[in-house]
């Protein structure tokens, strides 16, 4: 299934784009998507997942219009045409 992934803040520089379409297997979860991104962008994998390949706890994630806690990533099933926005933590003052 096709999804749209949007990147904010530092992630745009890290992945080199503001958004892209991703192919995820049917019934895939948000955690699956993050692991797929971690593999695709190997050097930047720590932005998406921890060393244990869990969703990065400090990554803010919005699926369509709802914030989803990283801890719920494994149980959040994604659907065709979902828009997943990834907001890395920022603290610029």
């Amino acid at each position: 299934m096709k999804l749209r992934v949007q990147y904010m803040a530092q992630l745009r520089a890290v992945v080199g784009r503001a958004e892209e379409e991703m192919e995820l297997s049917e019934g895939g979860s948000l955690a699956d998507l993050l692991n797929q991104l971690a593999t695709t962008y190997g050097a930047a994998s720590s932005h998406f997942v921890t060393e244990a390949r869990q969703a990065r706890p400090s990554l803010l994630i919005v699926v369509n219009d709802s914030a989803v806690s990283a801890r719920d990533a494994a149980t959040t099933v994604l659907h065709t045409n979902d828009v997943v926005t990834l907001l890395p933590p920022i603290a610029g003052g």
Partner: protein, 252 residues
């Protein structure tokens, strides 16, 4: 409202145009005059927040920021002046804010928020604004604000983006609910235009004014994110984490 300080004729005249704001009026102005606001760091974001709060007539501002003015602060730290390069940031800020509004009491602390000053500084304010470039400082401010049940406006930016949320401990998610770990990839130097940091700081100041005057709907339980690259603004509901080590013990 009898316990609130009276406005002098000079103050009534100075604030005339904001006294016209619906629901605000003289009582709102007297509430601002009575209030103390702590601003953690007065750089691009916090400095602009402090300037807005001084203009609006907050009674007392406590400004915490270590270090001396540097040339490369001046693209965004609007309280700093070129003649003050090499001298303490808080002195430049205090001077500028006094020039803007001599009615505001300015207290300066030439330190950043740390383990030894956080409790005392938070205890003396009614509302706090967090605008430090390090998560350690923001998370410390959050812990202390939650512990003392003080409202906290957390305001942050990066490049052309801004983020803001208002934390009312026990009622809305705290910063640790949002960031349950110290973010490992954040670097303390970040790309910034003053137009962006000032926008975030101005929005933070508006939240403070609303909280103190009791007008409007605070940005609690919601995260505002905006991207000035395409002028998109978005508000996303956010939830408390039931096992948050900082705020989960508090009930509304």
């Amino acid at each position: 409202m009898s316990h609130l300080p009276e406005l002098t004729p000079d103050e009534r005249s100075r604030y005339e145009w904001q006294l016209w704001v619906r629901d605000f009026g003289e009582e709102g102005q007297r509430r601002l005059k009575q209030a103390t606001v702590l601003v953690s760091r007065i750089g691009g974001v916090g400095g602009s927040a402090a300037m807005q709060l001084a203009a609006a007539g907050i009674g007392r501002l406590i400004l915490a920021h270590a270090g001396n003015v540097r040339l490369n602060d001046l693209n965004r730290q609007l309280l700093m002046t070129t003649d003050w390069i090499g001298k303490p940031r808080v002195e430049s800020a205090s001077r500028r804010l006094h020039d803007l509004n001599p009615h505001v009491e300015i207290e300066t602390i030439a330190e950043n928020i740390n383990d030894s000053n956080a409790a005392e500084l938070v205890s003396r304010c009614d509302v706090a604004v967090s605008a430090a470039p390090l998560f350690a400082e923001r998370l410390l401010m959050n812990r202390e604000a939650v512990r003392q049940r003080k409202p906290l406006v957390d305001s942050a930016m990066y490049e052309l983006e801004g983020r803001l949320t208002t934390i009312i401990p026990g009622r809305s998610p705290c910063l640790s609910c949002l960031y349950p770990e110290p973010p490992p990839n954040w670097k303390r130097e970040f790309p910034v235009f003053s137009a962006v940091s000032s926008a975030v700081g101005s929005l933070a100041a508006m939240e403070v004014i609303k909280l103190i005057a009791g007008i409007g709907e605070p940005l609690t339980g919601r995260l505002l994110t905006f991207d000035l690259r395409d002028m998109s603004f978005r508000t996303v509901p956010i939830a408390r984490q039931l096992d948050c080590p900082v705020c989960s013990a508090l009930s509304p």
